[in-house]
């Protein structure tokens, strides 16, 4: 959990992912399409990956990955990102980081 908190406070846009997760890949592509270069943390390749996965699940997302943080706050998983984007609320959040 500490590693997560540290990462998200240091970097503007952080996406926790797994290298095998194609839905995570889709979210990352979307952010890149919007002109943002998110910091991607592949938890399946991280030595503390297991704890991070547990911590992310505890945060309440239906799947531990993808987990998107903007400005230190949890935005959510794929569902939340898509809803935000279609309602036009995602881009304003990303403005500082484009």
């Amino acid at each position: 959990m500490d590693k997560i908190t540290r990462l998200v406070s240091e970097k503007g846009v952080v996406i926790f992912s797994k290298s095998s997760c194609c839905l995570c890949y889709a979210v990352i592509i979307l952010f890149q399409e919007l002109g943002v270069n998110p910091v991607v943390c592949e938890i399946d390749q991280d030595p503390e990956g297991r704890e991070m996965e547990k911590a992310l699940t505890r945060l309440g997302c239906n799947a531990p990955v993808p987990a998107v943080f903007i400005a230190g706050k949890l935005v959510g998983s794929t569902n939340e990102v898509m809803s935000l984007h279609l309602s036009g609320s995602l881009i304003p959040l990303l403005k500082p980081y484009q």
């Binding site: 095998s20 194609c22 279609l86 309602s87």
Partner: protein
Amino acid sequence: MELHPIMSSKGMNSPSAQFVTPSRLGIYEPIHQLGTWGGNIKSNGNPSTSTPMIVEVDTKLDTQSEDTSHGTFPPSNKYEQEASKPVDKIQRRLAQNREAARKSRLRKKAYVQQLESSRLKLVQLEQELERDRQQGLYMGGGVEGSQIGFSGPVNSGIAAFEMEYGHWVEEQNRQICELRSALQAHISDIELHILVEGGMSHYFELFRLKSAAAKDDVFYVMSGMWKTAAERFFFWIGGFRPSELLKVLHPHLDTLTDSQFMDVNNLRQSCQQAEDALSQGMDKLQSTLADTVAAGQLVEGGCIPRIPTAMEKLEALVSFVNQADHLRQETLQQMFRILTTRQAARGLLALGEYFQRLRALSSIWATRPREPA
């Protein structure tokens, strides 16, 4: 022929056959009706499995009727019965009528049950036939994947989904008619709003049905076999493209205000971006699955560690179908948030008619006259 046992038992009870009065003859009519039930089944010469069943029922009832006859009347002097208190005759006739009616009801019930199970079997056979027919049309390359789930026994979850989808389409057609008349009749915005809400909920209901079906058999949902051919042509991850939805609505939105126009454009752009992102995710899923399967075949003894990974990939497919449906739902919701009630009603009508026309096109195409080979 079933009449004979009954008649002979009557013969035993009333030794003097000359006392067969018209009223006595009247008794036999209900029994004759029993003959009709059996007769219908036997006379068509069909060696159906129902026949022995009904005959069995008869024999059982016959014995019972004999018992009833014995039970109703005092075992002593039969001649005294004949000498006749009319009350006895009437009672006897009533008892026989009741008995005959009961037999008739039981026979009818057995017959109906047999019809019902035949009907179910027929529906199942029709479904299998349709599937095999479409499989024949589609199996150009003979892909193994399409055989799993099509030529095998019908999955009950999928069969249920197909039936529910059939109902969904019927309800959809009804709603489209209602919407059309409502718009022509210039009903109030409040009433129109109810129709629009109903239409939206109906689409959301479809996404719910699909989600359950995807858990059951994601390949089936992805195949689009539950939709008509023309709809399948436009398929994208288990359904219509969200961007296509907006394209269909566009020409019908001629009365947009400036801010609406801007909102619609933004929605179109973000919808397209989300769709592209999911498409790229799907491409990655396909290529990694192919790699996994290919590697599994090449490496001897390495198959087993690969199989769980391939299974994980297939699980991911369910997530993709759900995400695609989520995108469809969000696009619909956003669109109708931007529009006024009247614009939304016109949009829903346009969308519904579009899919109706695609379905009609599929029918016309399927039944077009073809040159003999």
